[in-house]
């Protein structure tokens, strides 16, 4: 296998949310297969700057797949072709020489485009503000081992808590639903005795906020689970619905 590949990129360029965007074409040569997708874009941007052209705006920070800053759609799939992988952890060895790739931002009405591939996901913060916490102020806590938690519950809570808030679930959903994101937080806290107490209020408030922010409803396509870089399960959505129905009955 050759150590370098060349690619054709079609990248969404849009100067602001008010602007009308369009695709631009970039021909990329001799990319090492050992670098990550974002490092490939770094190279593209470096070359653009050398030619006096404006680089492609994209966001990233940790580049270890944990901060949730990065993310865009590659050939119609949020975070690209590799399962359970953010774009910063996606390496060029998974692409073929001569391939054409279409790169677009995460699209959803609540995610306004800031520039090119950068979107505003602050609506996720609004959802957490609506109840994604345990009401406990610093200094009141009992000894940590006074709260016993069965290992399996702790593990399940962790599985849900692993959400990085990247927004791939919303971008992949035909309804632009934030059900996976919202339910992951609800499920994390519902699996723990500390979080159980406020369970009813939390689910009502978070679901209402999710709707108010303009996210669509879940209709069980499960695209969200398929693209989630942390493998968050749609069983969280089932739990959220169950909890919501319980508050009505």
């Amino acid at each position: 296998m050759s150590e370098v590949i060349s690619l054709n990129l079609q990248v969404w360029k849009q100067s602001s949310n008010e602007d009308v965007g369009s695709f631009e074409f970039y021909s990329v040569k001799d990319i090492s297969i050992h670098i990550s997708f974002l490092e490939m874009l770094d190279v593209v941007n470096e070359n653009l700057q050398k030619e006096g052209k404006e680089p492609i705006a994209f966001d990233s920070d940790c580049r270890e797949g944990i901060c949730g800053t990065c993310g865009f759609v590659i050939d119609g799939v949020a975070h690209g072709p590799l399962a359970k992988t953010t774009v910063c952890q996606l390496h060029m060895r998974h692409f073929k020489n001569g391939q054409t790739l279409v790169i677009e931002p995460f699209r959803a009405t609540p995610f306004k485009i800031v520039k090119d591939l950068v979107v505003d996901r602050s609506s996720f913060d609004q959802i957490i503000q609506a109840g994604g916490y345990v009401t406990v102020s610093t200094g009141n806590a009992p000894d940590a081992n006074n709260i016993l938690i069965a290992k399996e519950n702790a593990e399940e809570a962790f599985d849900s808590a692993a959400c990085i808030g990247c927004g791939a679930c919303v971008a992949s959903c035909p309804n632009a639903s934030a059900a996976l994101f919202t339910s992951a937080k609800i499920s994390h806290l519902s699996h723990l005795p500390q979080g159980k107490i406020e369970e009813d209020e939390r689910v009502k408030s978070m679901v209402t906020t999710m709707d108010d922010e303009g996210f669509g409803s879940c209709s069980n396509h499960a695209e969200c689970e398929a693209v989630c870089p942390k493998g968050i399960s749609i069983s969280n959505i089932a739990l959220m619905r169950r909890n919501l129905i319980k508050t009505i009955l």
């Binding site: 100067s15 090492s32 050992h34 670098i35 990550s36 974002l38 490092e39 770094d42 190279v43 470096e46 653009l48 700057q49 006096g52 052209k53 680089p55 705006a57 966001d59 920070d61 940790c62 580049r63 270890e64 797949g65 944990i66 901060c67 949730g68 359970k84 992988t85 952890q89 520039k115 950068v118 505003d120 602050s122 996720f124 913060d125 957490i128 503000q129 994604g132 916490y133 406990v136 102020s137 610093t138 200094g139 009141n140 806590a141 000894d143 940590a144 081992n145 709260i147 016993l148 938690i149 069965a150 290992k151 702790a154 809570a157 962790f158 808590a161 990085i164 994390h188 500390q194 979080g195």
Partner: protein, 650 residues
């Protein structure tokens, strides 16, 4: 004055710097001090506005706690949401002296381990307070719903980390930092909903504003619109993390930078021990020139992984084909008492030594094995997957190789900065009203930080120290009202605008990435894992040349009126260039080896760092001196409770 070339000169201050540590017995000091502090009464707290910059573990926990107490908090972060601060990437765990394992742990033992791990260059009293508070942190985080690892009976479980002989590290798989940060973030969001915190994401702090010599405000740039804003407050808390990215390649997030701290330094905050930079032994080796960052493989892996190289440097067999008898498990050989769990600085140097002897692995010669085969044989693959699964997956994603079937290849990388802005016992810098928390300050880790202690310090500072010491400051200080339309505010804002315009005006041909890579190369080669007088003098010659190139040949596309990543990077790089020089100067001044600061001239016969307690048992706190040479202030480390000894992990 010292030295021959003008670049490395400095003046030494005659007066000693005072950490303002309260008197009394070490173990009671913090509690006694707390009970003697003045308190702001609940009705008055709402009259105070507190600016908190940064939303990692230190900033997030401080903002949430101060808001709970009733202060009006304004919180700022450069990310699009506070949940993405780089604390999120911490993997292995958080230390606490709970002694849940009944293995002899105690506050005193954690204190001693941390002091010794820091090679006797931290302030004793701060470290003792940290050890004391550690237990409360775990209680607080569990109450918030942080899903720490548990045993079958439902109790919390622990793992071991380097530099300690007890098991005191609490963890949430390999994502402890993420879970702790989300805990602090959720506490913040509760206060945002109550309108007790006003949140300002996408803001980069460009300067601090002082009125009557006290920190009373900040200038920030809105990264989305480019607009410069000023904000006023009664105190400013700087929680902006470390500056490992001065080396270009590090395990830090791409956005981590020194700008907020450096601009405060230029306004009068002393910078302490900037040359104490931690190099983490187990990172994925560099793979090529376009690499943008390095990825850490958690220290917890050394619980079960064995570090080795082939005994014969010409042995080109695959790892699996090399029998035990032909392997040099060099950490176990060199340090039988701690084996693979030696502190980070010791481990990193041993790996470097092997590679310098030509025993490093192909293709670069800059890698050694971290091998799990004997652990998999002993505990089974499932057990290992439960403990380290996500780390193994991450390794495979990046390198294409599976650590289940062949050993990881690892090499040291810049990870954490022990140095930072100087603070007193109250965490206040030399600018009154400017407090510095977490990695951004210098105070607790001396010359080397132990694994799983960064999360502990960030949360100790934010949840438990600052709520007390800030109240004491506010209750004891006369603070007149200030206005953002006053001259003090507008003039600093204009300075910031001028600086941005100046960067855009250069219109040269070098990109920020090219110049940053060049600076990083100099820093890593000459101010890195091993330093000499010659290498540091060379760095002090080379960095000003890179700085010249920056100011004469930089090219930034676009303008300052919208999102412009290149412009953001340029502003940060300008400060890294100045910081790099001070780091080299600090390393040159410290003619001893201690912790992560290894001067090749000062080592024992076995190649261990050789401290010089008679001359260098002090904190170097540098004062910025515009248009002239820096001024060195010394805080003597006059140990009253611990005896300074040669560290021994054999």
């Amino acid at each position: 004055m010292s030295g021959a070339t003008p670049e490395k000169e400095y003046v030494e201050s005659v007066s000693k710097l005072d950490g303002r540590v309260p008197s009394g017995e070490l173990a009671d000091k913090w509690d006694k001090y707390k009970s003697s502090m003045k308190i702001v009464n609940p009705a008055n707290k709402r009259k105070f506005n507190i600016i908190v910059v940064g939303t990692g573990l230190a900033g997030g926990s401080a903002a949430a706690t101060l808001a709970e107490l009733g202060y009006n908090v304004k919180s700022f972060c450069i990310q699009d949401t506070p949940r993405r601060a780089h604390s999120i990437a911490a993997q292995g765990g958080i230390n606490a002296a709970k002694n849940y394992q009944n293995d002899g742990d105690s506050v005193h033992r954690l204190f001693i381990d941390t002091i010794k791990g820091g090679d006797y260059r931290a302030r004793e009293e701060n470290v003792h307070r940290l050890a004391q508070i550690s237990t409360q942190i775990i209680d607080q985080c569990v109450a918030q719903g942080v899903p720490f690892a548990r045993d079958y009976g439902g109790l919390l479980t622990n793992r071991s980390f380097g530099g300690s002989q007890v098991s005191r590290t609490f963890y949430a798989r390999g994502q402890t930092g993420q879970q702790l940060l989300l805990g602090a973030y959720s506490a913040m969001m509760r206060q945002v909903a109550k309108q007790q915190i006003e949140m300002f994401p996408n803001r980069e702090m460009l300067d601090v504003i002082t009125v009557d010599d006290k920190a009373r405000g900040i200038v920030v740039r809105n990264l989305k619109t480019g607009e410069l804003e000023t904000h006023s407050g009664d105190a400013v808390l700087l929680c902006t993390g470390g500056f490992g990215n001065v080396y270009f390649l590090s395990t830090n997030g791409k956005g981590s930078n020194v700008t907020a701290a450096w601009r405060c330094h230029k306004k009068g905050a002393y910078m302490a021990n900037p040359c104490f930079a931690q190099i983490h032994p187990t990172c994925i080796p560099t793979s090529g020139e376009y690499q943008s960052k390095l990825t850490l493989m958690s220290e917890s892996l050394r619980n079960d992984g064995r570090v080795w190289v082939p005994k014969n440097k010409d042995d080109k067999r695959l790892a699996a084909d090399i029998p035990e008898s032909d392997r040099d498990n060099f950490l176990e050989r060199m340090y039988p008492a701690y084996g693979n769990l030696v502190p980070r600085d010791v481990g990193s140097r041993a790996i470097k030594k092997m590679c310098d002897e030509g025993k490093g692995l192909d293709p670069s010669g800059r890698a050694v094995y971290l091998d799990f085969s004997s652990a998999i044989e002993r505990l089974g693959k499932k057990n290992i997957a439960d403990k380290y699964g996500n780390l193994f997956d991450m390794y495979e994603t990046i390198t294409g190789d599976s650590p289940y079937s062949q050993p990881m290849k690892i090499y040291p990388a810049i990870h954490y900065i022990m140095g930072g802005l100087w603070v007193d016992y109250d965490l206040m810098s030399t600018i009154p009203g400017l407090f510095v928390l977490g990695e951004a300050n210098f105070s607790d880790h001396g010359a080397n930080r132990l694994g799983a202690s960064a999360l502990m310090q960030g949360l100790a500072d934010g949840y438990f120290v600052i709520p007390n010491t800030l109240g004491n400051y506010l209750a004891n200080t006369k603070l007149d009202s200030v206005s953002t339309s006053s001259d003090e505010f507008t003039s600093v804002k204009n300075d910031c605008k001028e600086k941005t315009d100046q960067l855009l005006k250069i219109k040269g041909s070098s990109t920020t990435l090219e110049i940053h890579r060049e600076l990083g190369g100099v820093m890593w080669d000459l101010v890195g894992m091993a330093r000499t007088k010659e290498s540091l003098e060379e760095a002090l010659e080379k960095i000003p040349k890179i700085k010249d190139k920056f100011w004469n040949d930089l090219y930034i596309p676009g303008d300052s009126d919208s999102l412009n990543k290149s412009l953001e990077h340029a502003g940060r790089l300008a400060d890294f260039l100045e910081l790099g020089e001070l780091m080299a100067l600090d390393a040159l001044n410290r003619e001893e080896s201690c912790g992560a600061h290894f001067r090749e001239e000062y080592q024992t016969e076995e190649g261990e760092p050789l401290r010089n307690d008679d001359k260098y048992a002090y904190v170097s706190a540098w004062e910025y001196n515009k248009d002239s040479i820096p001024i060195l202030h010394k805080e003597n480390l006059d140990y009253k409770f611990v005896k300074m000894t040669q560290r021994n992990y054999k």
